[in-house]
Symmetry: C2
Subunit: 192 residues, 2 copies
């Protein structure tokens, strides 16, 4: 079975016919490393389900500094939700950290699917609920923990990402400089 169908079925039941409708409304794309799927300023007209590889979304401040808002690896979704829902220019850039395969779904297709397969509303709600909880936890960590605590928690929660992604991206995700993360890693490794 297609990974994305298995993913949907973890939340809601789908008939064979509905699976076909869904698959008819999406498109599979192969993305090369560093390819920019969404540049800041464009309206985000798709959401992407990562079947393999890794995408990330980031914001650039005036000084050109990058802040990673989200990583999406296998079996996760990414897109600029605000831009997508309100059809306003995106504040976030989305690009590939690795060569990836994604399932792309456009807003018109998604709106049509919500009509044809009403239980997708439930999927959308459940999916959004868990994204919200994850974001809230990350926000709480950002306002309440030191950089060292945040990194230790990150490395424990996502050991694979900690290996897989370059240090400067992890630092950006945690809201610290790459240099400081280097020092934190050195300190933690000397302890354990």
């Amino acid at each position: 079975m297609q990974p994305i169908i298995a993913h949907l079925k973890r939340y809601i039941p789908l008939s064979g016919e509905e699976e076909a409708i869904f698959l008819g409304a999406v498109r599979t794309r192969r993305i090369r490393k560093k390819q920019l799927l969404l540049p800041e300023g464009d309206v985000c007209r798709q959401q992407w389900y990562v079947q393999s590889g890794c995408l990330y979304g980031y914001d650039l401040n005036e000084k050109g500094g990058m802040h990673i808002i989200k990583f999406a690896v296998e079996d996760q979704w990414i897109g600029d939700m605000h831009s997508f829902l309100c059809e306003t220019p995106s504040l976030m850039n989305i690009e590939a950290a690795e060569a990836s395969v994604v399932i792309e779904i456009s807003k018109p297709s998604l709106d049509e699917l919500y009509t044809k397969i009403p239980q997708l509303e439930r999927f959308g709600r459940l999916n959004m609920e868990s994204a919200f909880i994850a974001m809230q936890n990350r926000m709480l960590a950002a306002i309440s923990q030191t950089a060292e605590e945040r990194y230790a928690a990150f490395a424990q929660q996502f050991p694979e990402l900690d290996q897989r992604l370059p240090q400067y991206m992890i630092a950006s995700y945690l809201g610290i400089t790459a240099e400081f993360l280097s020092k934190i890693r050195k300190k933690l490794s000397s302890i354990s």
Copy 2:
């Protein structure tokens, strides 16, 4: 019309009968200032819609330090989403910053309402989408801006909250100490 019905109707259509079903499933409660609606460790079995007043949710760290996760004023919802959905002990305390009137809805009632009024799924999704976007913006601010920038943005976005809530709560929400916020306010007021 009841404020909560007007609130729902801003997102989805409801028939008179559905309004009655909804109102039959909820309960109005009058809350006094400092009253604790949800203590950390309890399962959060309700969501609260604030009709008037202000509630807030916070986390206490080992040292007893408070970190405010959310304020909810008139026409906003609050609850510990993770605890509510997974029926696990809450990590967050919810209490009243002011005397308030809330509409309380229990999880069994909500589940039943999702069945009886299917378009509530859509409301749930839309509501969760905007909560997610707000949380993501706050997380981004926390990892990318200085305390002064975050406070200036807060005061501009929520001028009323900035007046209405004690400084130590705003500081906690922004992830800084009350003393430092005092210094920031002094500096900003001397500039403008």
